[in-house]
Symmetry: C2
Subunit: 200 residues, 2 copies
DNA sequence: GAAAACTTTGCAGATTCTGCAAAGTCGCAG
DNA sequence: CTGCGACTTTGCAGAATCTGCAAAGTTTTC
């Protein structure tokens, strides 16, 4: 078990070093060599962990979410899909909350280096196929049905927006609340809230 | 006007060359030098048009959609948001239909090189901020309200899924129909269609 | 404690990507 | 049509990214 722990630590060190360096200087102006040096490993080791420099900045999607599929299928059959999805994703939210400092820094870095935002979205999307299969299984639909794909993409979009908003301020309440709100809006068919300018 | 046309043509040549080469051999096994040579320009010129090799493969998001904002605001105030969005996006769908061959090839390439899919999604997301602002304006909401961001992200997700499905087969009907179906599912609150396995 | 399994590292080298200045092309006014 | 200004292409040098491979180091297993 030492091996595993060491690996995780190295990975974490690399991510932390990358985020801190990019936070200090600009997104460019930081080389992989510097990141590796700051983490105390060789450049070659960096590339054993991440395929690109940017990968170290955006992190893993759903790292806290293991058996999504089983979790989703275990939910009562009459529970609305969005609610079941929410429950299944709770572990991921908790993981993010645990890494709160990490995520705040990551989001500040992405805010200051907008070219990273698409890459964050790209990283998040890698979990989508798995999500789609889980939805298909639960809904008893063939895995090539349009619905699961759409449901996964929309869920992904909602979680992403929620995470960004959650990280935007220091005291914006628990992440899960942001996600719940987004899911609620979607369940309501994406109807705009009453505008403030023209009140009732 | 010759200048502009020539530029567009060069860009198109590069995209076409990139797609064709990657389609023939694998996603790796193609260098930027080869793409540039196939398009009849220097490698340096390639990088004048695209920041990375992959950018030439995934293409521009919403290239056919110019004044989204005006279009959206012009819709009747009582028209449901999703319908208004659909109308505003129609030009983009038409543009994609025009480039049908291009998109079919692009999607086949992405299908055969799955590491490109996240990048396609990333490219699509770059139009999201603009979309969010348009939605905010129409809904009379502050531009930092959660709703427009969510609406833009969800719309983006729906269009993406629709484009992928549309391109998945040669005769899957007009793209707009796929988008309409996706929007319909969202408007209904993302409720699964009845499963086939346990029928009514 | 020795072998197996895995991780780190250095090194060579291909490839990607950038800055810069020279050369080429286009648009336009005289 | 000529020349000038704006823009585009190109070559070149060089920095940075990224890969394969084999040697060296570390952890696990037996």
């Amino acid at each position: 078990m030492l091996r595993e722990a060491k690996r995780r630590q190295t990975r974490l060190d690399l991510i932390t070093a990358a985020l801190r360096l990019v936070d200090e200087r600009g997104g460019d102006r930081v080389t992989v060599d510097e990141i590796a040096a700051a983490a105390g490993v060789s450049q070659r080791t960096f590339f054993n962990y991440f395929a690109t420099k940017e990968d170290a900045l955006v992190g893993d999607p759903l790292e806290g979410c293991t058996d999504l599929r089983a979790h989703l299928s275990a939910a009562p059959a009459d529970r609305p899909l969005l609610d079941a999805l929410f429950d299944a994703l709770v572990p991921a939210f908790q993981q993010i909350q645990l890494d709160r400092e990490h995520w705040l820094l990551r989001m500040r870095v992405i805010g200051n280096n907008p070219q990273l935002l698409p890459l964050l979205i790209a990283a998040a999307s890698t979990a989508e196929q798995e999500l789609a299969e889980a939805v298909a299984e639960r809904a008893g639909l063939p895995s090539n049905d349009p619905f699961p794909q759409l449901a996964a993409a929309v869920t992904n979009a909602a979680v992403r927006v929620a995470v960004i908003r959650w990280a935007a301020s220091e005291d914006s309440g628990p992440l899960a609340e942001h996600v719940r709100e987004a899911f609620g809006t979607i369940a309501a068919g994406l109807v705009p809230p009453p505008s403030v300018s023209r009140n009732a």
